[in-house]
Amino acid sequence: MPRIAGVDIPENKKIRYSLRYIYGIGPQTADDIIAETGINPDTKAKDLSETEVGQIIACIEAGIQVEGTLRRQVQQNIQRLRDIRCYRGERHRKGLPVRGQRTRCNARTRKGRKKTVAGKKGVKG
């Protein structure tokens, strides 16, 4: 099993697909890497030769932010918004949607599970 970009061990799939298990690599970047290294996209991840794995690792290290560095980058961008106290930063702080979505209903991804308020209309108190 090849190890690419730290802890990630994509398994019994064609590399074209197994590369996507790395944080920061989606369909587009996966195909870009394969095109650049010239590897047959249909080879299974376990069948890759040492040199091919080396090529992929070199390609990723050359210009793609993945895993830890990318996560840190995203976190830093959010932290910057918080620090300058702009509207988007405030929304991140309050855990509400950042891009102007409605919050009257829905918005559950940002707000988390429903918190039922006793005594409110429709709920027997």
């Binding site: 910057r80 620090d83 300058i84 106290r85 702009c86 509207y87 988007r88 308020v117 005594g119």
Partner: protein
């Protein structure tokens, strides 16, 4: 959708000129403004603005990180004091 590159960022001209004249002098007083839609260019760094939020002027000190944002982003227009509590009445 983002703004056309041809036009460049929207910068309130009057405000920009005001900053320029103030930069030429020595005194840096807060500038009262209603131009919430004005993008912050690098020249604004270090100045204090009083940005109108519809009711009052909120003081905004521009730092380097704020370049590229709009002045209105730093002067919130809504006041949320929390939800009401039936037993205790309105939370203040």
């Amino acid at each position: 959708m983002s703004r056309s590159l041809k036009k460049g960022p929207f910068i309130d001209e009057k405000l920009y000129r005001k900053v320029e004249t103030m930069a030429a002098g020595t005194k840096k007083t807060p500038i009262k403004t209603w131009a919430r839609a004005c993008t912050i260019p690098p020249e604004f760094v270090g100045f204090t603005f009083m940005v109108h939020n519809g009711k009052a002027f909120k003081e905004v000190f521009v730092t380097e990180d704020m370049v590229g944002h709009k002045l209105g982003e730093f002067s919130i227009t809504r006041l949320f004091r929390g939800h009401t509590n039936k037993k205790e009445g309105i939370k203040s």
